[in-house]
């Protein structure tokens, strides 16, 4: 509300459309600056005669009836009762050109108007380019269309079904640069349906025909398969798929596996767990492995590197990526400068990242800049894996399940069998950057660090 403060006699203000007459807050006394509407005697649509009381107003000096400045129909109330406004504020508008018996504009349309459209047509002025209807979203998702690239011809710039279909026809499937955050990912833990041959399989990678299937079947494949159902891949799934393929095409993948006796780690963990828990830190086996890995990387810098063209790029910091499983995919947030963290610090950082990854509160920056990745799907019970390197790193370490096994221990009296918690550390590495010996030596360092039971720091 404008707060024009006019002294003197109030004139009914005339707005540009001459037939609308305003009722304004009167000045009731020289020192009075404002008034409060007590009650409106008329409601919009009501007919009012000139000088007929139209509302009651009160000031700290006096209560007064306001006479209508004109004859006509009360169009709009601008200030509701109970409100205090400065003198001169427009309170209501009267249509002085109206004739009695003519329908008020709100009524002119007739009662049938209200029930017809459950919600009015959206305001054409408002920007609706970001609103996407269900069918538009479905089509966009199915074809990987970035809707921000589609121009909308609907009200308020809304992208309509026809717009996205037209876009599809002209641009084709999927945008080349997806705005999705880069997800550093590696191999799936469980066998995916990626076993089924992709639609456009190259001849050399096509699956060998299953035994017993010599001649092509006369029955269409779909019938032989039996009932199926389809689900569109989520954006995360599609991104993971792309990265996996890219990684395998980029690196010369090899996997080396070392067997580790975790009994010292178990003992140490038993000693330290409780006091760390009291400090709010959950001490996991993964934390031990991470610490040992970081120490080993300092001794074997070739594993904390990247291949760029003809060069090996060595990183001074160890930015350790920890893979976290999500419902339909995974994410690899990074612990920056992991070399600075103690065992406890590592455990805390891992827990924090895992928690935030699962609740979807990881910052975009936190999934970039990793130099080495550890993954720990061991809780699912598998014992060996051949992970896919998280580009542009040169190696990835996979900690599988820790399982009690009978092992041979050498003692002063000779060999005996003991039961030890054992696990395999499986590392996939890029043969472009290093060789098997280097990989093995690194793993041996990690193993030593774990079997010593005590951090060297």
């Amino acid at each position: 509300m404008s707060s024009s403060r006019t002294e003197g006699v109030q004139q009914p203000e005339r707005s540009p459309s001459a037939d609308v007459v305003q009722v304004t807050m009167p000045q009731m006394g020289v020192s009075v600056a404002e008034g409060t509407i007590v009650e409106w005697r008329k409601r919009p649509g009501d007919w009012v005669e000139a000088d007929e009381p139209i509302c009651d107003v009160t000031t700290d000096k006096v209560d007064v009836e306001i006479p209508s400045p004109a004859t006509g129909r009360l169009e709009r109330i601008l200030v509701e009762s109970g409100t205090t406004v400065p003198v001169g504020t427009p309170l209501a508008e009267i249509d002085a050109e109206a004739r009695p018996g003519e329908a008020h504009p709100d009524e002119r349309a007739g009662p049938r108007r209200a029930p017809q459209s459950s919600t009015g047509q959206p305001d054409g002025e408002a920007d609706r380019s970001q609103f996407h209807s269900p069918v538009v979203r479905r089509i966009a998702e199915k074809h990987g269309i970035d809707l921000s690239r589609v121009s909308g011809t609907g009200i308020g710039g809304r992208v309509r079904k026809r717009d996205v279909l037209a876009y599809l026809e002209s641009e084709g499937d999927g945008a080349p640069e997806s705005p999705e955050p880069v997800l550093h990912t590696e191999s799936p833990y469980k066998p995916e349906v990626s076993e089924s041959p992709p639609a456009k399989a190259e001849p050399e990678t096509a699956a060998a025909p299953p035994p017993g299937e010599g001649a092509p079947s006369s029955i269409p494949a779909e019938q032989l398969l039996g009932p199926t159902h389809r689900e569109p891949m989520s954006p995360m799934r599609q991104a993971i798929a792309r990265h996996m393929i890219d990684s395998r095409r980029t690196a010369a993948h090899c996997t080396t596996i070392v067997e580790v006796d975790f009994s010292r780690v178990a003992a140490r963990r038993g000693q330290l767990k409780e006091q760390m828990r009291r400090r709010g830190v959950n001490l996991t086996y993964l934390a031990f492995v991470a610490r040992a890995t970081v120490e080993a990387l300092e001794e074997h810098p070739k594993l904390n590197a990247a291949v760029e063209g003809d060069e090996i790029v060595y990183h001074e910091d160890v930015n350790l990526g920890i893979a976290v499983a999500l419902e339909d995919g995974l994410i690899v947030p990074v612990i920056r400068r992991a070399q600075r963290l103690s065992l406890e610090g590592m455990a805390a950082a891992i827990a924090d990242l895992a928690e935030r990854a699962r609740t979807g509160t990881v910052e975009p920056d936190e999934v970039h800049g990793g130099t080495f990745t550890i993954t720990n799907p061991g809780q699912f019970g598998a014992v060996l894996a051949t992970p896919i390197i998280n580009q542009p790193q040169v190696a990835i370490l996979d900690l599988e399940a820790i399982v009690k096994r009978p092992v041979v221990v050498e003692g002063p009296e000779g060999d005996s069998i003991a039961i030890r918690p054992m696990s395999y550390l499986c590392m996939s590495w890029d043969h472009r950057a290093l060789d098997g010996a280097g990989a093995a030596r690194f793993l041996d360092s990690v193993r030593e660090g774990l079997e010593a039971g005590e951090s060297r720091r």
Binding site: Q116, Q121, R138
Partner: protein, 334 residues
């Protein structure tokens, strides 16, 4: 079920008939074919019916088969139930659809539930002259079909064309269940089309695409079908008009198929708004075709008001051509 039903007919020739004549024709055909079929209602015999649907029937079929009933709607419906249980095929006439309320108890508590409770089939039809537009006032203008959609055990049909009026009536008579047949009075003399002679069957539960389109589906029945077709013509837009024809059971596949194609739906009926057929169809669409929608599902109906008598008031309440055009236009532009 396909939405476009090819009517089964033994005769290939057609005659131009009004909607009202088609109803008489269908009734006459069935009565001649099956001696179990008989009519009962007020003033249908000697007087030929308030709207002359049964004009000449007494002469042709005798007073027992075109039975003048006392002013007793409960008796009309209740007697029909008993007769149907015993194998007759009664076709009741309510003089106005509005009067079904006087026979409501027999219809919803006896007729509708006998089979569910006792395995007793009740093959009867209740003809209900419905609809407004001629200053009939609140008791001669109603479209009460929603009451029957709420009663499990009743089937409900509402033809829009003369050909369908005949075809659906014959199907209704042959159905072993109680069928409420909504015949819109306003269409009696204003709708004319080529109606197949002889046996002409339109199966229950099948909608009809009255006009093909790709940008908007108007789902309608009865008088609203004509309004929709006219609006689509005058707007000259790519609007599809789906004539439901049967309201219970609804042709869900036709409804969903059309909406999936156009992604926009307007449901139009002359009956009042709340909890009407439109509400049911709208719920069906959002439940089953949500991801195919490019606009909210809207309804064009009369408001929740008894139908007034005075012409300007009645016109303000019953959906008019301009309302249809506006509603279509809004959805097309959305």
């Amino acid at each position: 079920m396909s939405a476009t039903a090819a009517p089964t007919q033994t005769s290939a020739s057609t005659t131009e008939m009004t909607y009202l004549q088609a109803i008489s024709d269908g009734l006459r055909f069935e009565m001649a074919r099956d001696p179990a079929v008989f009519c009962l209602g007020e003033d249908i015999g000697a007087f030929g019916g308030a709207f002359k649907v049964t004009d000449g029937f007494v002469e042709e079929f005798g007073p027992e088969r075109c039975l003048d009933m006392p002013l007793a709607e409960s008796a009309i419906i209740g007697v029909a139930v008993g007769a149907a249980a015993e194998g007759m095929k009664p076709v009741c006439e309510m003089q106005f659809a509005d009067f079904i309320s006087c026979g409501f108890d027999q219809l919803v508590n006896v007729a509708a539930k006998l089979h569910y409770r006792q395995g007793v089939a009740v093959p009867m039809v209740v003809r209900l002259p419905s609809g407004g537009g001629f200053s009939g006032g609140p008791f001669h203008s109603q479209n009460p079909e929603a009451w029957f959609l709420q009663t499990p055990g009743l089937k409900v049909v509402a033809p829009a064309t003369a050909a369908d009026a005949k075809g659906l009536l014959i199907s209704a008579i042959r159905d072993p269940n109680p069928v409420c047949y909504l015949e819109h009075k306003g269409l009696y003399r204003h709708v004319k089309d080529e109606v197949p002679e002889g046996e002409h069957i339109v199966p229950l539960g099948e909608a009809r695409i009255a006009r093909e389109g790709t940008e908007l589906t108007v789902i309608a029945y009865g008088s609203s079908v004509h309004l929709a077709l006219q609006a689509a013509e005058e707007l000259d837009e790519d609007v599809e008009v789906l004539d439901l024809r049967t309201l219970c059971p609804l042709d869900r596949e036709a409804i969903l198929g059309s909406v999936r194609k156009t992604s926009k739906a307007l449901i139009a009926h002359e009956a009042t708004r709340s909890a009407g057929v439109g509400a049911e169809v709208a719920a069906l669409i959002t439940e089953e075709a949500f991801e195919d929608l490019d606009a909210p599902v809207r309804r064009l109906t009369a408001p929740d008001v008894p139908i007034p008598f005075s012409p300007p008031l009645e016109r303000a309440v019953l959906p008019q051509l301009d309302d249809m055009k506006e509603a279509c236009g809004e959805l097309l532009a959305y």
